[in-house]
Structure formats: structure tokens, C-alpha cells
């Protein structure tokens, strides 16, 4: 189940980019000596509803809402109009990453395992969004 959520570093990048949608889990640590871990959202039994995780509610910089990969891709599609495709590559079990019809790494096509292609695509989207922010 954990593999469906963004890793901590990329979730933090999205927080910095302004991602603030409801998430099913968050990254945090309850003890300063612990490592940062993924925790699922909880239900408030007194109020009777789920307390989803939102970045804007976290005062600590290191506490981060953990989006699903599908949520992150939907967010980039909605906010930046960036589309991503993971396409089957020529070699067995290998995939290519396309962003807005551009193949990742022109002239030097990189092939990845499916899960790695998803993460690579996400990093590319973050990089593209960061470049836009700098240009603005």
C-alpha cells in the first residue's frame, strides 16, 4: 500500500509548490529521535468524520501530507496542464516517460522499470513546475 504514496522528498517538493489537497496519509515523526514515517489519516470518533491530511495545517516544516501518485499527476494536470505518460519501451519490462508528448531525454532515451518510470516522471514534473516558478 505504501508504494502508492509519494516518497517523502517528492511529497515535500509538492508541499513547497503549493499542493494542499486532502490526503489519506502524512509523513511526520512524533518523537524527535524517530525517523520520519508514513502515517494513515485517522477518524475523529467524537466528530464522526475523517481528518484528512492537509499541508496548510502543519506547522512543522518536516510534516508533510502524502499524496498518492495518481493525485500528484492529477494535480499537475489541473494546475499546470502538464500531462504525463508512461509508455512501454522496446525492451522487456522497460518503460519510457513522456511529458507533454516530449520523450524524457531526447536522443538518449532512458528506459525504466514501471515503478521507477512513475517516480522519474514525477520528478520531471516537479522540475518543470519549479522552472516555471523561477521564470515567473
Amino acid at each position: 500500500m505504501e508504494k502508492n504514496f509519494l516518497p517523502y522528498t517528492e511529497a515535500l517538493e509538492l508541499k513547497i509548490l503549493g499542493f494542499n489537497e486532502s490526503c489519506l496519509a502524512k509523513y511526520c515523526r512524533y518523537n524527535p529521535k524517530d525517523n520520519i514515517k508514513l502515517f494513515p489519516q485517522s477518524q475523529n470518533f467524537f466528530k464522526g468524520y475523517f481528518e484528512y491530511c492537509y499541508n496548510q495545517e502543519y506547522r512543522k516544516v518536516e510534516t508533510v501530507a502524502a499524496p498518492l501518485f495518481q493525485q500528484a499527476f492529477d494535480w499537475f494536470r489541473k494546475k499546470y496542464k502538464f500531462d504525463i505518460e508512461i509508455r512501454k519501451g522496446g525492451k522487456p519490462e522497460k518503460y519510457m516517460v513522456f511529458v507533454d508528448s516530449y520523450i524524457y531525454k531526447h536522443g538518449d532515451v532512458e528506459l525504466f522499470k514501471y515503478e521507477d518510470a512513475k517516480l522519474e516522471g514525477l520528478r520531471l514534473l516537479i522540475k518543470k513546475a519549479n522552472n516555471l516558478v523561477i521564470v515567473k
Partner: protein, 140 residues
């Protein structure tokens, strides 16, 4: 948050096809959807709660399951109607390719052109089509 999860129809079909990955939500009778808290995994085979009909996978989980268990790779491809590529504009419509893989290589392609300009619709459509293809092949 329910929009992150597959519909009842897809969830039920996936269960019939052997989906047993951990999920965060389930469907009870009459398509009543319920999301669990503090848990990162409920399986269809789990015996603790017999009253639910099936688990409710997320969209990406269903696509992964279809690829990993049945070797059908779903690809939702964007296209621009004016023929240009890479202009950074919103896609005009989505095509769907379902690749049947054999030994990790492409064996057969099912293509569905110009399905929708709505990604979410195209995603649901592609999963339904993949399930339909798998069912047909299983019954042959």
C-alpha cells in the same frame, strides 16, 4: 476522497479476477462505500469482516493489478487535435492503448481512439475495457 477510488462495478470485477491487494476502503451491500482509518490495508481475502462485498482499490492499484497479474498494460495517451505535439497546451483528447504483454514484450495492441478530453473518464473507460478483454480471453 471517494474519487480516488474505483467504482463499485470495477472493484467487484477486480475481486472476481483475483484482486487481493491491500486497500483503504471497501464496498458494503447496495454499493455503500466505507473508508477505513488508521489502516493501510484491507484485503478481499481478509476474514475479519465478512460483511463487505469487496475492497475498493484506487485507480492506480487497479491498473497495476491488471498489468502485474494479467500482463495487460494500460496506456492513456494524450493528443492534440491540431497535430502539434509538445506545445504544453492541455490535451484535446485521450487515446487508449491496451498492450497485451508476453515475456515483458508487446504481443498485441487494442487501440481506442479519441475517447474523451477528460482524463478521468478515459482512465475509467480504459480499465473497463481491459477487464472486458480479460473476461473474454478467460472464457475462451
Amino acid at each position: 476522497m471517494k474519487k480516488q477510488y474505483c467504482t463499485y462495478e470495477i472493484s467487484y470485477d477486480l475481486k472476481e479476477l483475483g484482486f487481493d491487494d491491500p486497500c483503504m476502503a471497501v464496498y458494503y451491500p447496495n454499493s455503500v462505500w466505507y473508508q477505513y482509518s488508521k489502516k493501510l490495508g484491507i484485503r478481499n481475502s481478509e476474514k475479519g469482516d465478512k460483511t463487505f462485498i469487496c475492497t475498493s482499490p484506487m485507480w492506480q492499484q487497479s491498473i497495476d493489478f491488471i498489468r502485474e497479474k494479467y500482463n495487460y498494460d494500460i496506456q492513456i495517451c494524450f493528443k492534440h487535435q491540431d497535430g502539434t505535439k509538445g506545445d504544453g497546451k492541455k490535451s484535446d483528447y485521450y487515446d487508449i492503448n491496451i498492450y497485451q504483454l508476453s515475456g515483458g514484450e508487446i504481443w498485441k495492441i487494442y487501440n481506442f481512439s479519441e475517447i474523451s478530453n477528460d482524463f478521468k473518464y478515459a482512465r475509467e473507460f480504459s480499465i473497463l475495457k481491459a477487464i472486458e478483454i480479460i473476461k473474454i480471453i478467460k472464457h475462451k
